[in-house]
Structures are given as structure tokens and as C-alpha cells.
């Protein structure tokens, strides 16, 4: 007994949690206190190694942790209480699962003996979060806690990254037990993600690439998740092969937008040249992307004449939507390294000059064209101006979800990975503002901008208060068209222009709102004032709500209409009422 009292590894469950965070190199966590996590908050109070950022809503903690994770490559950590604290985390957990973001959420739970009794602020947290986490645990014995916490960090960050949740009843937080530092045996023996690609498949892939006449590389978020090495190897592969490259929304920045082989983003709102290249290619190399339905368009007409190579660390991503010819299961960086090695020793740069000529013709269609105006700010123009004003600066961009998000992806050029934080898979309106908080915590001296819409931004506006409290100078750049633009666009295209509840009425005065929070509000109406206002926004070292009033009825093009293939895109100059009606004829027939 006396021995144990001197053992530094004897501690309460609450102390173990803080200790495990420190042992895993966590310096910042996002959370909100409540009854079932008070012992943990008491431990946090008595130390200074882990900084706790108090959010205003648990969803904000989750998205902030996501922004932190995406911009650093480290796991984001959130701490919430039982019941509503945990249920408010469901959206960010699902968001992180869809986009493969490493997140560790620690939730408090009612004491063990009350579980199942409908106690105050009780909910079945592990039951509710089971389908929206990579794995989760309910810890019933304080002596299991260290192992579970270490395993949680490992599971979140290894293989295909994702969110995990550890539910800790309050009595387990109070109980004293034995802590141990992280060790190998803390992980399930059944969990062993495959990292190294199969050598035979890699040879097959190289042979396809070396003999390609019309190749394309299609990369995704997996490259960014894999780490800086994968990004370097991807760039080297493009260099060595001379192939054109496009990317998903999640993969932007892995290959620089200024690179000469860059085709722009692909998919529903991707560029004409990217989608046509995908459609007409003879060899497709998909790296760390998953043939999502926003990418493929109509699947039975997706890139019909190509041999497809798919590199993914998750075997369940292979042949899920599109059947591929050469699947390679492994980590992007690892597999790209092997492919490069074999390619460099056995193959030479294929001659694809005529393919590039074809691509140049598609490029000449200028699919991102829009008509500027002297009277009203076009949203595309606003993003371009923002891009120009921040070019060369140490900038991170987050977004909400909708038209502004697509315009940001189309018009903001990303040169590096981890600079672009957006909710791709789940499409969570309200993601961007708290994500910006998380990014700014991780990068206090960088310029962090949330490109937002007037509707999305109101979903998590309360986190402005967090930004003000912690002096996080985030810039919320609102493309304010007084509509839920993307919803309205679909209603115009598919629902007979009946704009059912897609307008923003009774919008707050964003300038006054900013001031009410203790932040800075800016508003601009005229194109001529835009650059000056953006400059002012950047120079202000405080949080800013930037109300950029833009053309209300502008829509996002080019676009693959539903049920259409990549080569049936609707281009901006064609997007008059008649052509739009025709392209959506099948849809119109039913409205």
C-alpha cells in the first residue's frame, strides 16, 4: 500500500487522461465542460502543458479539432461532457469519418452504476457514435484507461485516419489506478493496416503508365493524409511522367495550382478540361481518392475507355463505385515511392504530345469564365481578389458548404497541402468558422480565412466569441448573396424555379454583429472598393466578419447535370435558360 502511494504511475482516471494527452504530444484541445467531465477539467486547471480552448458549442469543438488536424497533420482532440455534449459531437465525428480526419474525442459519461438508468445527461454515447467513428470505447475500469487512450490515438492516426471516441464514466475519472506510457501492445492485434503495396500490382501499374497514350493522374485527400512525403512523390511522379493531373476537392494543394500539368479540380463543378481528360483517358491513376459520386457523374458512363489503377489504404474503397483494373492497397506515399522507383529504372517518359494538344483545346473553352461587372461584385471575382491579395502570404483557407465553397475550390489556387480545410464528404454547413478557430490555434501567426456564405456562417456563428476570447484573428469572408445559393441553384435547375425556403431573410447586420462580439466588421458593396477592403481585413490583427455583398443570382458553373457523364458538362456560356432546361430535361419532366 505504501509502495503504491509513491508510484508516480498511480493516479486518478482524470489525471491519466491529461497525462496521456501530454504523452501523445497534444498541446491544444477544444472542449466544453459539464457535470460528467468535471474531474478532467479539474486536472486541466492544475497544469499548463495542455492548453484548453473553450468553445461555445460542442459542435464547434469538433470542427475546430478537425481544422487543427487538417492543417497540422496531427490528431485533433475534443473534450465534451455526457448526454448533449456527446450528441453535439455527432456532426463533427461524422464529418471527420467521411473525410478521414484523425480526431480523438473524450466524452464524460454518467457513473458506471447509473449507466442504463436514464440518469441526468445520460445517453448511449458509444451506441450513438458507433457508426460515426472509426472505433470507440466505453471504459469501465480505470486500469484499462491508459491502454484504451493510447490505442485511441493509434487507431485515429494510423491506416486510413479517422475519428475515435473514448467514453469515460465519472467514477472511472475519480478512481485511482495504474497508468503506463504508450507501448506497442496497447493496440488490438486484429488491427494491422496494410502500408506496403503489392509488388506485382505495382509492376502492372508501371507497365500501364509507361505505355499510356492518354493518361491522367487523379489524386485525392489520401495523398495529403499520407504526409509530406506523399505530396513530394506525387509531384515527382508528375514531373517524371509528364502526365496531366487533376484532384478532388479534398486533394487540392497536393499538386500546386500553378504547376504546368495542373488541370484544375474535377467532378460536378470541376473544370471542363479535367472532366474531359478523365472521360477520354486510356490510363487513369487514382491516388488516395474514392470515386465519390460528386466525382464520377453517371457511373456507367464514367471514363469508359480507360484502364484504371487505384491506390488506397482502405480495401473497402476499391471497387466500391467503379471497377478498377489494378487495385493497389497501401499507403499513398509508400506505393508512389515504389511506382516511381520501378518507373525510373524500367520506363521512359511516354510521348503524349498529341494528348496535351487535345487538352489545350479543352482548356481553351475557358470553363471558369464569368462576366465581371463594374456595379456589382461577382462572387468569383471576390475569391480571385482574395487570392491575389493573399498570394505568397502564409495563408490557410477554410470554407463552409455551398456555392462559395465550389467557387473557392475553382478560383483560389492552392500551392501546398494542409492549406485547404473544407467539409468534402459530409458537406457540413457551419464547418468553416470553428475550423478556422482550430487552424488559428495551431498557426497563431498565419493568416486564416474562412470563405463563407451568409447562410452557412450563421450555423456556428457563436464561435466568434471563442475567437475573440483567445485573440484568434480569423477572417470570416462572407460571400453574401442573401440566399442558400446552392440550394437555390438546384431549385432553379430541377424544381421549376420554386425557391422554397432557400432565401436568407432577416439577415443580421454582420458589421454590428462583429462589433457585438468584440470583433471587427467590414462591409463592401462595390467592386471598386473590394481590394481596399480585403487589404484592410488582412491588416487588422483581430477577428473580422467581412460582409462581401455579391451578385445575388450568380450560379456555379461549369456543372455536370445529374444523370450525365463527364463529357456532358454544362459550361457557363451555355448556361442560358434554354440550354439549362434542355440539359435537365429529364428532371424537368418530373417537376
Amino acid at each position: 500500500m505504501s509502495d503504491k502511494s509513491h508510484d508516480p504511475n498511480q493516479m486518478t482516471g482524470a489525471a491519466m487522461i491529461v497525462r496521456a494527452l501530454i504523452d501523445h504530444g497534444v498541446t491544444d484541445i477544444f472542449g466544453y465542460p459539464g457535470g460528467a467531465v468535471l474531474p478532467i477539467y479539474d486536472e486541466i486547471f492544475q497544469q499548463s502543458q495542455v492548453q484548453h480552448i473553450l468553445v461555445r458549442h460542442e459542435q464547434g469543438a469538433g470542427h475546430a479539432a478537425e481544422g487543427y488536424a487538417r492543417s497540422t497533420g496531427k490528431p485533433g482532440v475534443a473534450l465534451v461532457t455526457s448526454g448533449p455534449g456527446a450528441t453535439n459531437m455527432v456532426t463533427p465525428l461524422t464529418d471527420a469519418l467521411m473525410d478521414s480526419i484523425p480526431l480523438v474525442c473524450i466524452s464524460g459519461q454518467v457513473p458506471t452504476h447509473l449507466i442504463g438508468n436514464d440518469a441526468f445527461q445520460e445517453c448511449d454515447t458509444v451506441g450513438i457514435t458507433r457508426p460515426c467513428t472509426k472505433h470507440n470505447w466505453l471504459v469501465r475500469d480505470v486500469n484499462d484507461l491508459a491502454k484504451v487512450l493510447h490505442e485511441a490515438f493509434y487507431v485515429a492516426t494510423s491506416g486510413r485516419p479517422g475519428p475515435v471516441l473514448v467514453d469515460v464514466p465519472k467514477d472511472v475519472q475519480f478512481a485511482t489506478g495504474t497508468y503506463h506510457p504508450p507501448r506497442k501492445s496497447d493496440v488490438h492485434r486484429s488491427y494491422a493496416p496494410r502500408v506496403k503495396g503489392d509488388a506485382t500490382q505495382i509492376r502492372k501499374a508501371v507497365s500501364l503508365l509507361a505505355n499510356a497514350k492518354r493518361p491522367v493522374i487523379y489524386s485525392g485527400g489520401g495523398v495529403i493524409n499520407s504526409g509530406p512525403e506523399a505530396t513530394n512523390l506525387l509531384r515527382e511522379l508528375v514531373e517524371v511522367t509528364g502526365f496531366p493531373i487533376t484532384s478532388t476537392l479534398m486533394g487540392l494543394g497536393a499538386y500546386p495550382a500553378s504547376g504546368k500539368n495542373w488541370l484544375g479540380m474535377l467532378g460536378m463543378h470541376g473544370t471542363y478540361e479535367a472532366n474531359m481528360t478523365m472521360h477520354d483517358c486510356d490510363v487513369m491513376l487514382c491516388v488516395g481518392a474514392r470515386f465519390d459520386d460528386r466525382i464520377t457523374g453517371r457511373v456507367d458512363a464514367f471514363s469508359p475507355g480507360s484502364k484504371k489503377i487505384h491506390i488506397d489504404i482502405d480495401p473497402s474503397s476499391i471497387n466500391k463505385n467503379i471497377r478498377v483494373d489494378v487495385p493497389i492497397i497501401g499507403d499513398c506515399g509508400n506505393v508512389l515511392g515504389d511506382i516511381l522507383q520501378v518507373f525510373k529504372s524500367e520506363a521512359k517518359k511516354p510521348d503524349i504530345k498529341s494528348w496535351w494538344q487535345q487538352i489545350a483545346q479543352w482548356r481553351a473553352r475557358n470553363s471558369l469564365y464569368y462576366k465581371k461587372s463594374n456595379d456589382v461584385i461577382l462572387p468569383q471575382h471576390a475569391i480571385q481578389s482574395l487570392f491575389e491579395a493573399t498570394r505568397g502570404k502564409d495563408t490557410y483557407i477554410t470554407t463552409e458548404v455551398g456555392q462559395h465553397q465550389m467557387w473557392a475550390a475553382q478560383f483560389y489556387g492552392f500551392e501546398e497541402p494542409h492549406r485547404w480545410m473544407t467539409s468534402g464528404g459530409l458537406g457540413t454547413m457551419g464547418y468553416g468558422l470553428p475550423a478556422a478557430v482550430g487552424v488559428q490555434v495551431a498557426h497563431p501567426d498565419s493568416l486564416v480565412i474562412d470563405i463563407a456564405g451568409d447562410a452557412s456562417v450563421q450555423m456556428t456563428m457563436q464561435e466568434m466569441s471563442t475567437a475573440v476570447q483567445y485573440e484568434l484573428p480569423i477572417k470570416i469572408f462572407i460571400l453574401n448573396n442573401q440566399y442558400m445559393g446552392m440550394v437555390r441553384q438546384w431549385q432553379q435547375l430541377l424544381h421549376g424555379n420554386r425557391l422554397s425556403h432557400s432565401y436568407s431573410e432577416a439577415l443580421p447586420d454582420f458589421v454590428k454583429l462583429a462589433e457585438a462580439y468584440g470583433a471587427v466588421g467590414l462591409q463592401v458593396h462595390k467592386p471598386g472598393d473590394l481590394d481596399g477592403a480585403i487589404k484592410e481585413m488582412i491588416s487588422v490583427k483581430r477577428p473580422v466578419l467581412f460582409d462581401c455583398r455579391v451578385a445575388a443570382l450568380e450560379n456555379c458553373f461549369p456543372m455536370i447535370p445529374s444523370g450525365k457523364a463527364h463529357n456532358e458538362m454544362l459550361l457557363p456560356e451555355q448556361a442560358n435558360d434554354e440550354a439549362t432546361a434542355k440539359a435537365f430535361a429529364a428532371g424537368k419532366a418530373l417537376v
Binding site: R130, D293, R298, D314, P315, N319, L494, G563, F584, L590
Partner: protein, 180 residues
């Protein structure tokens, strides 16, 4: 293909469904069965039959046998989705190996008198079903076999006074000396 007004690409799938028996070796920990079942309901897969029991208590291993239906692409998905769960050690498609034995146990209660009772007993004998409970007006038969055999036996018992059936669901194991 008539595309309804939707932000999603709606397509008809015409691949024929197949039935597969999957053996899943898992860590026996709280919630593991809920994870597996949740995967099936969450992703819209079918469960025709499911059995689960601890098979190696020392190592905390349980074996789940699932009979499922789907297109070949969906069956592949199911296997990969199961395999990537943290507490899952292995997934073996017993149907694909073509070297597996499948058995199910059923207890079948039949109520009747006179000729029906005699006939039930005679059929039970032909199916190698054992009588495990008897009263003057009822029997409980225990029958083991593959699913088809048990279905057939139950069908035959129906006109003879079938009262109720309790079935274990399918358990499967590979032939030959190797384990899964």
C-alpha cells in the same frame, strides 16, 4: 433511364444477387456484435442468418457466421467493410472457398394424435431427427443439417401439427486440415 429531379445520380442496378456465407473471427469485446450488425443495417446489406458464440475463451475470440445476399460487388464490399473493423481478425467467404460445410440445428415442436403423430415420427426417423421431448400429444424434434434439409423437414411437419420452431442459424467450417 429516366432521371428524377435529384442532386444524386440515381441508377438501376441489374446484377443478380448471390447468397454467401461469411465466417468472421472477432475479438470478443463489448459492442462487437452491435458493430457488425450496425454495419449491415447502416449500409443496407441483408442478413439472412447470423450466429455468434465465443470459440476460444482464452484468447477472447468469437466467431460470427453470417449468411448474406447481394450482387458480387456488394458482397465484396461487405467483406472489406467487415475486415477493416478494428476488432475483426479475419473474414472468410465460405461460399467462395467452395470447401465448407454448413450446418444448422433446429428444434421443432409438433402437436398431434393418431396417424399424424405416427407419420411425424416416421419422417423424423427418415431425416435423422431425434426426439428430445415428448408428451402424449406432442413431440419436440432436434434436427441438424444444412438449411435446405431443415426447411424441407419443417415443410413436412406443417400439415402434421407444427407448433413452433427454434433455429440456431448457420454455422460453417472449412474442410481439410487447415483453420481459417
Amino acid at each position: 433511364m429516366n432521371q428524377p429531379a435529384s442532386a444524386y445520380f440515381i441508377e438501376d442496378r441489374h446484377d443478380p444477387n448471390e447468397t454467401h456465407t461469411l465466417a468472421v473471427l472477432v475479438q470478443n469485446e463489448p459492442g462487437v456484435l452491435a458493430r457488425v450488425i450496425g454495419l449491415f443495417s447502416g449500409r443496407g446489406y441483408n442478413i439472412e442468418s447470423l450466429t455468434v458464440s465465443e470459440t476460444e475463451a482464452q484468447k477472447h475470440l468469437s466467431r460470427i457466421t453470417i449468411v448474406t445476399t447481394g450482387t458480387p460487388m456488394v458482397i465484396e464490399q461487405i467483406k472489406h467493410q467487415l475486415d477493416r473493423m478494428i476488432p475483426v481478425y479475419r473474414v472468410v467467404d465460405m461460399t467462395q472457398t467452395k470447401r465448407s460445410i454448413e450446418r444448422e440445428l433446429a428444434m421443432v415442436k409438433v402437436r398431434g394424435q393418431g396417424e399424424h403423430r405416427v407419420e411425424a415420427l416416421r419422417l423424423a426417423d427418415a431425416f435423422r431427427a431425434r426426439v428430445i421431448d415428448a408428451t402424449t400429444e406432442s413431440f419436440v424434434f432436434e434436427i441438424t443439417g444444412n438449411t435446405d434439409k431443415i426447411n424441407q423437414f419443417i415443410d413436412l411437419m406443417r400439415p402434421l401439427g407444427l407448433v413452433e420452431v427454434s433455429r440456431t442459424g448457420v454455422a460453417a467450417i472449412g474442410r481439410g486440415p487447415e483453420g481459417m
